[in-house]
């Protein structure tokens, strides 16, 4: 039974990636050596230890990427612990609602600046041996995945009139005369709080 769970997880993931236009299937250019990939399986648990879901992801073998050719900057800001405690203390004191969000497939929303060609592990998707996947969006395992996603998230929030705090780059807020909304980002986990629901 477990075997079927994994197969289902893999199929769901591939479908999501295809719907997201993560890649185009192209003939591999002769001068390019595509990077490899592999499947990574994990079981997500809830905080009390019970099963949440099976997860399967094709992961680009990012450790074979070459600096300068494949990626430029990899640093992605993560929230400082003091900021987290401060926000929680404020939310408690003001009785603000506190919410969290796990952006599904968060890293797949990042756009890639570089041209990256990847070979999917054998056995998945029909293709000739010359075909590779030219990535349009970033994929897990690519060294720039967290930063690419954060960049996309950041620009989207700025479009919605959020301000990024210069005192902690993972903190975004939206202030109006009567209310404020705060967003704290850590990888693909978000904390949302503020004076009203939005």
């Amino acid at each position: 039974m477990e075997h079927d769970c994994w197969k289902k997880a893999m199929q769901e993931e591939l479908q999501a990636l295809q719907e997201n236009h993560t890649w185009d299937i192209v003939s591999c250019p002769p001068t390019v050596k595509p990077i490899g990939s592999k499947w990574v399986f994990s079981i997500e648990l809830q905080s009390d230890g019970s099963l949440d879901r099976y997860k399967a992801r094709p992961v680009a073998l990012g450790n074979r990427q070459e600096y300068g050719i494949d990626y430029e900057e990899t640093f992605a800001p993560v929230a400082k612990m003091t900021t987290i405690r401060t926000i929680l203390a404020i939310a408690a004191s003001q009785s603000w609602p506190l919410h969290q969000m796990d952006v599904n497939n968060a890293f797949l929303h990042g756009d890639l600046k570089e041209e990256i060609y990847m070979k999917l592990p054998s056995g998945m998707l029909p293709s000739s041996s010359f075909d590779v996947h030219k990535l349009r969006h970033s994929l897990y395992g690519l060294k720039q995945a967290p930063r690419a996603w954060f960049e996309k998230f950041r620009t989207t929030l700025l479009k919605f009139s959020f301000t990024q705090s210069q005192y902690d780059y993972s903190l975004f807020f939206h202030k109006s005369t009567a209310s404020i909304v705060l967003l704290l980002v850590y990888m693909d986990d978000l904390i949302i709080t503020g004076t009203d629901h939005e």
Partner: protein
Amino acid sequence: MFLGDALISWKCKKQDRVSKSSTKAEYRSMPAACAEVVWLRSLLDQLGFCQPTSTPLHADNTSAIQIAADPVFHEHTKHIEVDCHYIREALTTNFISLLYISIDLQVVDIFTKAMTRECHQFLVGKLLLVDLPASI
């Protein structure tokens, strides 16, 4: 560092220079605390929680407080010139105010020394570290 009654920030740092006097050692930990206060005040202000007055910074060494408050105190302050300047600036811009707290009451002791069970328990209570039995 407390926000109201809630503990939000703390740091243990090894002194990177061996100080000959307790005053100097005390004085060295102040710039770090000061910097943290300045950063937090800015963050809180940005979120709409501007601090109405200067932030009290408690220290249990009166000489250290005096050095910070008085620009012309002692010859020995030559060695800690940069730190002095930073703290004095924070004082004049009214970001911090220096207050003396007696040695017995320092909550910060739990971050700088090993202690007996009674002292440890007492300070744990002061930090608002509470036991919450599991109920999830």
